[in-house]
């Protein structure tokens, strides 16, 4: 009888101690809420493209820290939940840079939790341009994000976002205004160069028919005047019905589409199927939402995408 209570007490105690030990070990690792000094200006970004943009604009500034939310390792951001670490970061952020357009589904929660948090929506101007009707139309197709929010995939849109972030940061943190401005201009120049180059290399893309497996690539198609013959939005939770697949195959055959753009993580299986069934060639592009903590990674990723597109168009001509 006594043994039992002793046993329970010992069990719970040892578990608690193990827990405490675990906590002690792991507190060093993650984001420590205490570290932020008073003068430090903390910029928190919602996900990778925003993080890279901010790294370019404010990365090496004295007294400015740029941190990204511990974003999901897989999938899109739409159904991401904030972790405790994120909540801590947000509670101390001076400005929170987001993409907007419904990309950050958790934004409403964050706003509810931190009403004083200054939110800088990089895509605000782009999304307010989209006419209401178009957005509603998109919904009918079953996208849960309303409109296509992957605007960082379009070079001109991304440039708009970068300059919006530059302006917003200068307003929020006047002390570093000069630095932000010059860095923004430098970064924009680099992007502009890439865009000029891309337009030259992809001049032949005008009017070409393609099929997309991810709506993010719609912006690439738009930038270079390609015609989207069909689209399946493959996502982490997406279950494709047999009918949809059949319809897409029909479209590819009828319109003689030669190029299909997909993302390797979710489009691979489906891409293989399509390649087997039709003459269509599948190219796996980068949606630029994951990668190293390297300020140049957007530029590099985009350049690789352009190279792949060029290759795709060339091989189609060879057929």
């Amino acid at each position: 009888m006594k043994h039992k209570y002793l046993f329970v007490a010992a069990l719970l105690l040892s578990l608690s101690l193990a827990g405490v030990g675990f906590v002690k070990v792991s507190t060093g690792a993650g984001y420590d809420g205490e570290k932020k000094g008073e003068e430090e200006f903390l910029i928190v970004t919602s996900f990778y493209p925003m993080y890279i943009a901010c790294l370019n604009i404010a990365g090496n500034c004295e007294g400015v820290t740029v941190r990204n939310l511990s974003e999901p390792q897989t999938g899109c951001l739409h159904d991401y939940q904030l972790t405790p670490e994120d909540m801590m970061m947000l509670s101390q952020a001076d400005v929170f840079v987001v993409n907007g357009g419904g990309m950050e589904g958790f934004l409403t929660d964050a706003v509810k939790e931190y009403p004083d948090l200054k939110i800088l929506e990089a895509g605000e101007a782009i999304f307010s341009e989209t006419p209401e009707t178009e957005a509603a139309d998109e919904k009918d197709h079953g996208h849960d994000h309303g409109e296509n929010a992957h605007v960082w995939m379009s070079i001109p849109h991304y440039m708009e976002q970068v300059s919006a972030i530059g302006r917003g940061l200068s307003e929020a943190d006047p002390a570093h205004q000069e630095e932000y401005r010059t860095r923004t201009e430098e970064y924009l120049e680099k992007i502009q160069q890439l865009y000029q180059d891309a337009k030259k290399r992809l001049a032949g893309a005008q009017g070409r028919k393609i099929v997309l497996f991810h709506e993010a690539f719609a912006f690439l198609a738009e930038d270079y005047g390609m015609e989207i013959a069909g689209e399946l939005d493959l996502d982490e939770e997406r279950q494709i019905s047999a009918q949809e697949t059949a319809e897409l195959l029909e479209v590819i055959r009828e319109k003689e589409v030669g190029v299909l753009l997909a993302e390797s993580m979710y489009g691979k299986d489906m891409g293989d199927t399509i390649q087997k069934e039709t003459d269509c060639r599948v190219y796996y592009l980068n949606t630029l939402v994951r990668g190293e903590e390297d300020a140049a990674s957007w530029l590099e990723g985009m350049e690789e995408n352009i190279r792949l597109l060029e290759e795709a168009l060339a091989s189609e001509e060879g057929l």
């Binding site: 578990l15 939940q81 079953g142 939005d233």
Partner: protein, 271 residues
């Protein structure tokens, strides 16, 4: 010690802590009744019906899917209870059929147009996003469960030991069973958003099962179940905070460790 409680600086952690303090005793109590009535599979099926409940709400255009979820779960629980009381032979098969049908229905409706990702948070649950109002609902539910437990626990126990004998003692056995089914539906539905479909049953079953390994009488059974449940809840929350993992699974892992420890204890003690 400062480090250990530093997490209470944040409001969302205070709310989550409150939620754990309400949910775990609730689950401890319900768990003891579910385990001793051999209804583990029943509560699992209930959890799965949450998806269907939401889907039904969407099909009928009900704005508040919480409502349709609760109503559907209650209907589902009553139906399950009725059917399983008639066919005592193959209860597990019947429940399995119902549970898989309901989850298939839910998935079919919710995945139309590729929308399922919106609901995937239901699978894992998110205790950190709980609001004060929802905390209040949980408090009311806990009070109701406590009331039910004080009045009916003995009756239910009697019925689960020997149904016919309990009936002969003028205990309203079927009424009790229906009431219990409804209560279980309410508890599961109101906490599923915070705990998640995939692990809600583990939280119900594990503390009671662990307690069963140790206890020699009903009082001990309930006492240990409560202690294990609350303990794993609090420790799980703290660990999940520092280790940056989802809270529900962390709680379940601790409850499982307790279960195995008590199991070994019983084996060694030879009782």
């Amino acid at each position: 010690m400062d480090d250990i409680f530093s997490w209470l600086r944040f409001d969302f952690m205070k709310l989550a802590f409150g939620a754990v303090l309400l949910i775990t005793p609730l689950f401890g109590l319900m768990g003891t009744m579910i385990v001793s009535r051999k209804m583990a599979f029943f509560s699992d099926a209930l959890g799965h019906s949450a998806l269907t409940g939401i889907a039904v709400g969407i099909v009928f255009g009900i704005g508040d899917t919480n409502l349709s979820m609760v109503v559907f779960a209650i209907v589902f629980a009553l139906l399950l209870n009725k059917i399983s009381s008639k066919h005592a032979e193959s209860v597990d098969t019947i429940i399995s059929v119902f549970s898989s049908l309901s989850i298939a229905l839910g998935l079919a409706i919710l995945s139309r147009g590729g929308n399922f990702s919106k609901y995937s948070s239901l699978l894992v649950g998110d205790i950190l996003s709980i609001t004060p109002k929802e905390l209040l609902y949980l408090g009311i539910l806990l009070a109701a469960t406590l009331g039910f437990w004080c009045i009916c626990s003995n009756y239910l126990q009697a019925a689960s030991i020997h149904r016919a004998l309990a009936k002969s003692k003028h205990i309203p056995v079927s009424l009790m069973e229906y009431l219990f089914a409804v209560l279980a539906a309410l508890v599961v539905m109101l906490s599923i958003k915070w705990v998640g479909i995939l692990i809600i049953n583990a939280l119900l079953i594990l503390p009671a099962a662990a307690s069963r390994n140790l206890s020699e009488n009903l009082r001990e059974y309930h006492f240990f179940a409560l202690v294990f449940s609350v303990f794993s809840g609090i420790l799980g929350l703290i660990i999940s905070y520092y280790a940056n993992v989802a809270t529900g699974p962390a709680i379940v892992i601790i409850a499982a460790i307790i279960y195995f420890a008590t199991y070994l204890y019983r084996r060694c003690a030879g009782t």
